[in-house]
Symmetry: C2
Subunit: 151 residues, 2 copies
Amino acid sequence: MDQTDRRILALLQQDASRSVADIAAEVGLSQTPCWRRIQKLHATGVIDRTVAILNPESIGLGLTVFIEVEAADHSPEWLQSFTAKVSAMPEVLEIHRMAGDIDYLLRVAVRDMAHFDDFYRTLIDTVALKNVTSRFAMERVKATTAYPLER
Amino acid sequence: MDQTDRRILALLQQDASRSVADIAAEVGLSQTPCWRRIQKLHATGVIDRTVAILNPESIGLGLTVFIEVEAADHSPEWLQSFTAKVSAMPEVLEIHRMAGDIDYLLRVAVRDMAHFDDFYRTLIDTVALKNVTSRFAMERVKATTAYPLER
DNA sequence: CTTGAAAAGAGCGGCCA
DNA sequence: TGGCCGCTCTTTTCAAG
């Protein structure tokens, strides 16, 4: 993956709806080689998928909550049950297994506090947890899915 | 926005590279009305953009760090300077202004610990901070950009 | 809202340098 | 590798039920 690939990726991370010809022109290639590079980036898993990013407010999911979780115990059974059950909850957009005093960090999208309360009850009902801290986001100052690729 | 729009959005959040005809078939519409709905969802800002999602490991940015920040003070000047300067750092993918004891939560993508150390020094050099806690993600158990739309 | 169709545009592949 | 040139498929618009 060379510098040209990186430039292509940078553009596609910003806007994947642009035509190959368009992107090709911007990176100084003609269509075919540019198209071939993009195919290869897909095939090798560098590009995982292309998706529509929605405005959460417009679909009534304006409340983002980060939940810090400490495991009830650290047995393989608990871990597996936790990840399986929590992964299946649609409000949970992300689950990170963490280093340090917190075992898992969840990122959750809900409608409002009532919805969160609902979710929270379900969560603590579904899996045994030692300690849970919820942090509420008031404002999304920056939110991008684009990794930095300069170099 | 009705149920059909929601179904279209659910599909586009999963895979925005599918053809309109394909999506139309799945939601039980013909091409033209389906296409018009998608245009409208763009125009009204429900669909913000469509982007390529990369595999962070494959581009050498496999280390995700969440940084909890307490502001040095809460003056408008500090807040503005903080958001402007930190937004401009490419490693910072997300900035959330939080409720509670933490003022800001950052989500940062870096190559490795050395890169993080670099980033961290730059961060605390760039803006005055009262307290900073870094939490390191060991494993991405779940990561989706798709908001739940069932209903 | 549907179908059908047609023009414009983009994706895709072969072939040559 | 990259570039040129078609063939094919989609997207996009339009007319009409």
